[in-house]
C-alpha cells in the first residue's frame, strides 16, 4: 500500500467476525466499526477493513471469512477464525501507520510485539472477574474506553482515551413531533430492565412498544418473568432492522432505558436522541456521561422516580435533543478523536524507534524470536 495522499494515515480497522460490518442484525461493535471506517475514508485516510466477507465498505476489505460467523451454520469453532484474523493483520502490519483492533482479547499478545502502533477499543464490560488478571498482564497495550465508567473496574491499564461512540447524523432523520408511545429497544435479558420498563409504562398510563431480540439464553426468563407482565397497551414488535429505527425510535415520545448492569456505552440512548426522542434512564455504567441531564433525557433511580419524571421528560424540546447529539455524538467527532489518538501513538512510536536504534535489529526483525520479555521494562510501547 502506498502512502495515503496528503496528510492522510494508512489505517487498519480490525473487526470481530461474528457479524458483518455493518451488521445485518444486532451487533453494536460491528456497527461502530462501520461508522468509523466509512468516516475515516470520507476524511481522506487510506483504510483497510479486516472483517467477514459479506461486509460492505468504501475502504479496502480484507475478507477473513466468506460471511459473518454467527450466520454460518458450518462454523463450529469461531476462535479458529479469530486466531487467523490476528495472524493476517500481523503479516500485513508494515503496510499501516496504525492498527485499530475491536476484537477483545485475542490480539493482545500481538499488540505487545507489533512494531506498528496499535490500539484496541474495549467494547464490552470490563468488570468480569475473568478480565482482571488478563488485562493486568497486558497493562502495556494501548486501550480506548467507550465511557469513563467502563474503565473503573480496571483503572490502571494503559488507557489512552475515552472516545464516545458517534452516529452518521446525516442519515438519521429526526422526528420533531412528539410520538404517542414509550419505546424499549434491546435484548430481553434481565440486565436490560424490561420488567421495569413495563412497570413505568403501566403506572404512567402510557402505551409501550418493545423492539427486542430474544436470545436463546433469555427465552425462559422472557416467557416466565416478562410475558406475564405484558398486560394493557403493550406491543411486542420483535427484533427490528436498522432501517426501521427512524420510525420506531423517532415515533416514540421517549425511550426507556432502566438498565440493571454497568452499561459500557448504550448506543440506543444516542440512537433515540438523534431522532429527537428523549431518554429516561437508570444511572448505571455510562448513563450519566451519555445523557445530558435535562437536555437529552433524565436520570432516575427507580420506577417511582421514573413515573414522576415522565411529564417533564416529555416536555424536553425534541429539536434540542437532536442538536445536543449532533454536537457530542456524531461519527465525524468520533473519527476525529480517533485520528488524534492515532497521530499521538504514531509520534510516540517514532520517538521510541529513534531511542532504541542501537539495540533493535534493523533487518530480519520479522524472524526474531519472541521468548520472554512479555513486558518491556524500559519504556511503555506507546508512551
Amino acid at each position: 500500500m502506498s502512502p495515503a495522499p496528503g496528510d492522510g494515515l494508512r489505517i487498519a480497522q480490525v473487526a470481530p467476525l461474528a457479524e458483518s460490518v455493518p451488521p445485518q442484525l444486532y451487533g453494536g461493535t460491528e456497527r461502530i466499526v462501520s461508522y468509523l471506517t466509512e468516516e475515516l475514508v470520507h476524511q481522506g485516510h487510506r483504510v483497510t477493513l479486516y472483517a467477514s466477507g459479506d461486509s460492505v465498505t468504501a475502504a479496502e476489505l480484507v475478507a477473513i471469512t466468506p460471511r459473518a460467523l454467527r450466520l454460518d451454520p458450518d462454523v463450529i469453532d469461531p476462535l479458529a477464525h479469530s486466531v487467523r484474523l490476528v495472524e493476517r493483520v500481523v503479516a500485513d502490519a508494515d503496510r499501516y501507520d496504525v492498527i485499530h483492533f475491536h476484537t477483545d482479547h485475542v490480539q493482545l499478545a500481538a499488540m505487545r510485539r507489533l512494531r506498528t502502533p496499535s490500539v484496541a477499543t474495549m467494547h464490552g464490560r470490563m468488570d468480569l472477574p475473568d478480565l482482571a488478571e488478563l488485562y493486568g498482564e497486558f497493562d502495556d497495550v494501548a486501550l480506548v474506553s467507550i465511557s469513563d465508567a467502563q474503565r473503573t473496574p480496571l483503572p490502571d491499564l494503559n488507557w489512552q482515551a475515552t472516545i464516545y461512540h458517534g452516529l452518521p447524523m446525516d442519515e438519521i432523520r429526526p422526528s420533531l413531533a412528539a410520538g404517542h408511545y414509550l419505546a424499549f429497544l434491546g435484548r430481553t435479558s434481565p440486565e436490560k430492565g424490561l420488567d421495569d420498563a413495563i412497570a413505568i409504562a403501566q403506572r404512567a398510563g402510557q402505551p409501550l412498544k418493545i423492539a427486542a431480540k430474544i436470545d436463546p439464553v433469555d427465552e425462559e426468563y422472557f416467557e416466565s418473568r416478562i410475558r406475564p407482565l405484558m398486560t394493557g397497551e403493550i406491543e411486542f414488535v420483535g427484533e427490528i432492522q436498522e432501517d426501521q429505527k427512524d420510525d420506531f425510535l423517532g415515533g416514540a415520545a421517549a425511550l426507556l432505558f432502566p438498565i440493571d448492569w454497568p452499561e459500557p456505552f448504550g448506543l440506543v440512548m444516542i440512537e433515540a436522541a438523534a431522532r429527537g426522542t428523549p431518554v429516561l434512564a437508570y444511572p448505571r455504567g455510562s448513563v450519566r456521561e451519555v445523557i445530558d441531564e435535562g437536555v437529552t433525557g433524565m436520570v432516575v433511580e427507580d420506577v417511582d422516580q421514573a413515573v414522576a419524571a415522565l411529564p417533564d421528560l416529555l416536555r424536553l424540546p425534541r429539536a434540542s435533543v437532536r442538536s445536543a447529539v449532533e454536537q457530542r455524538f456524531s461519527q465525524s467527532r468520533m473519527a476525529g478523536d480517533y485520528v488524534e489518538l492515532y497521530r499521538r501513538l504514531l509520534a510516540g512510536a517514532r520517538r521510541d524507534e529513534l531511542a532504541s536504534l542501537p539495540i533493535r535489529p534493523t533487518a530480519m526483525a520479522d524472524l526474531a524470536p519472541m521468548n520472554g520479555g512479555n513486558a518491556p521494562d524500559e519504556a511503555p510501547a506507546h508512551g
Copy 2:
C-alpha cells in the same frame, strides 16, 4: 530453572484449563497430559505443568487459574484465561528445552515465534471446516497426531509424528474372568453410536450397561431417541469416575464402540482392553489403528455384522487382550515416543541457531518486534 540432572530434559507441559490435570470428571485431554507428565517426571526429566490450580502432579505446577474453568461458576470468558496461559508460557520459555502444548489453537502464533522448540499435540478432530484455513496458515508449527487417521483431512501440515495415547498399566487391574454384560462408556451424543450399541445388545440377547455423560446439548437427543430404545436388560449407570472403571470395564464381557464419527483416538478402547475386555467397534477414524483385529477386538461395519461377530469376540483370550495393550499403549511407551521427538526438535533448533547466527540478535531478542514474516521462508522452524 537449572538444567535437569544427567540426560534429562527441561520440559513444559501446557494443559487446557477446562478441567484439572488429571480431570475430576470427563476430560480425555487432561488425563493424557497427566499420564505423560507423571511418566516424564518418573523418567527423570524436569517437568513444569501449566494447568488449573486444582491439578495434582509430581511436576512443578504453574497454576494459571485457581481451579478448572468448567467447574467455576464465576468464569464467563474462558478465552481470557487461555490467552493469559500462553503469555505466561512465552515469558518463561527460556527456562525450557522444549514446550509441549495441548491447547488447540490459541498458542499457534506464539509457537511460530518462540525460540524454544515447541510442539502441539492435536487432541480433537481435524476435519472441521473451520480448521483448514487456520492450520494451512500455521503449516510451519510442529504438530503431533494421536492417530494417522486424525491427520488425513489436513495431510500437508508439519506433522512430526503420530504418537498413540498410553495408560498407566501398573495402576490398571485386568479382570481375566469373562464378564456377563456388554458395556458402553462415553457421551450420549449421536456420533458415539449408543443407538446401535443398544440394538446390538438386544439382538444378541445380552444385557447392556451404559456409563454415559449426558451433556446439556445431548439431552433432547437422549430423551427422544435413546430412552425409548432402552427396553429389556439395559441398565443406565450414569457418568462414572476413574476409580470405577476397573469394575465397570473389567466386569464386562466386551465393550461396544459403534461410533459414527472420525474418532481421533478413542481412549475407552484401550481402557477396556487394558482390563482384558475385548472391543467391538465400527471402522471410523482411529479404530483400525488402535484395535489389533482378532487380538484386542474386532472391527465390524454394522449391527448385523456385530451380532454375527460377537460369539468369536467373546472367545478372545482376555490375557492376550491385556498384554497387547501393555505392549502398544503404555504410558511409558507414550512418554518415550515424546522424549524421542523432543530431542529431535531440540537438535533441529540448535542446528538452525548455528546456521542463522549472523542475522539473529543475540541480546534483547525479547523486545524484538514481530511485524510481518508470519512464515519464515528460508527454513521451517524445526526441520
